[in-house]
């Protein structure tokens, strides 16, 4: 039962965040690049003010899978690295924490671009 409730929260919160994104698209006609940037910055802000961990505790994938989670790891990485390395951490922390996601996205995109042909858009 508890697991079912967990999954329900994941679905509801994840879905709501995506619906907010769609609402932004409908009302302002902004491009997908701007949507992604906006949500990354929201994540950075939430983590920087220390709210993100509380949300993440019960929302789990509902907030970690949307790109908000990517922004939060950027900020978390930078803060953590400043604590251990001082000023240098401000420059190394953010990208270190998100390196896995960026490297995977670039690597797999390159691989599949070599394998697949483009599908003509109808």
């Amino acid at each position: 039962m508890e697991m079912f409730l967990d999954y329900l929260w994941v679905f509801l919160i994840g879905g709501t965040i995506c619906a907010i994104g769609e609402l932004l698209i409908i009302t302002t006609n902004i491009t997908s690049a701007r949507i992604l940037v906006t949500f990354v910055l929201v994540g950075v802000f939430l983590e920087a003010v220390g709210v993100y961990d509380y949300i993440s505790d019960f929302a789990k994938a509902g907030v970690n899978v949307p790109i908000i989670g990517f922004g939060a790891s950027l900020a978390r990485g930078a803060i953590g690295a400043v604590k251990t390395h001082g000023l240098l951490g401000a420059f190394t922390g953010g990208l270190t924490a998100t390196a896995g996601g960026i490297a995977a996205a670039v690597g797999f995109a390159f691989l599949f671009a070599l394998i697949f042909k483009s599908h003509t858009k109808k």
Partner: protein
């Protein structure tokens, strides 16, 4: 004066040509698809924690995101993700799979222009701003924390 009139005419023309999306169905579709993508992520994460109990929560999340990115790039390659995108709108853009799609989609589309100028250059047309703003904001946050920690 002339310019202003022409601009107004042009703007109304653009407004008439923009495809109209019905707000309620599209909001519901994004909610549904976005929610399902997050559910899949939670499922992968729980399975990883079950299979490798020694793994820390943080690395389990990193693996989860990498697996989701792999799936999204593959679906982009076979042309399925664009179909999902047509149906879901924001539901397919906001999750990390949308970030992955935004890198994979142009690199596959511009493959014909060569590996360097096609795949590698066009790869970052949408993801570039995301990485730039993300990096800059993380530097700013880090600097603020460094300054606070001085006192």
């Amino acid at each position: 004066m002339e310019d202003k009139k022409r601009n107004e005419q042009y703007n109304s023309y653009v407004k008439a040509k923009i495809p109209k999306t019905k707000p309620w169905p599209s909001l519901f579709n994004s909610f549904l698809v976005g929610g399902i993508i997050c559910l899949i992520g939670q499922g992968i994460n729980d399975l990883l924690m079950l299979a490798f109990p020694a793994m820390s929560q943080q690395s389990a999340w990193a693996y989860t995101l990498i697996i989701l990115i792999f799936i999204a790039s593959f679906l982009t390659g076979i042309g399925v993700y664009d179909q999902i995108g047509k149906f879901a709108g924001g539901g397919s853009i906001v999750p990390i799979t949308g970030f992955s799609n935004s890198i994979a989609s142009p690199s596959i589309e511009f493959k014909s222009e060569g590996i360097i100028y096609g795949i590698c250059v066009k790869m970052f047309t949408i993801a570039g701003p995301v990485i730039v703003f993300g990096t800059i904001s993380s530097i700013v946050v880090g600097l603020i924390y460094w300054i606070i920690s001085l006192f």
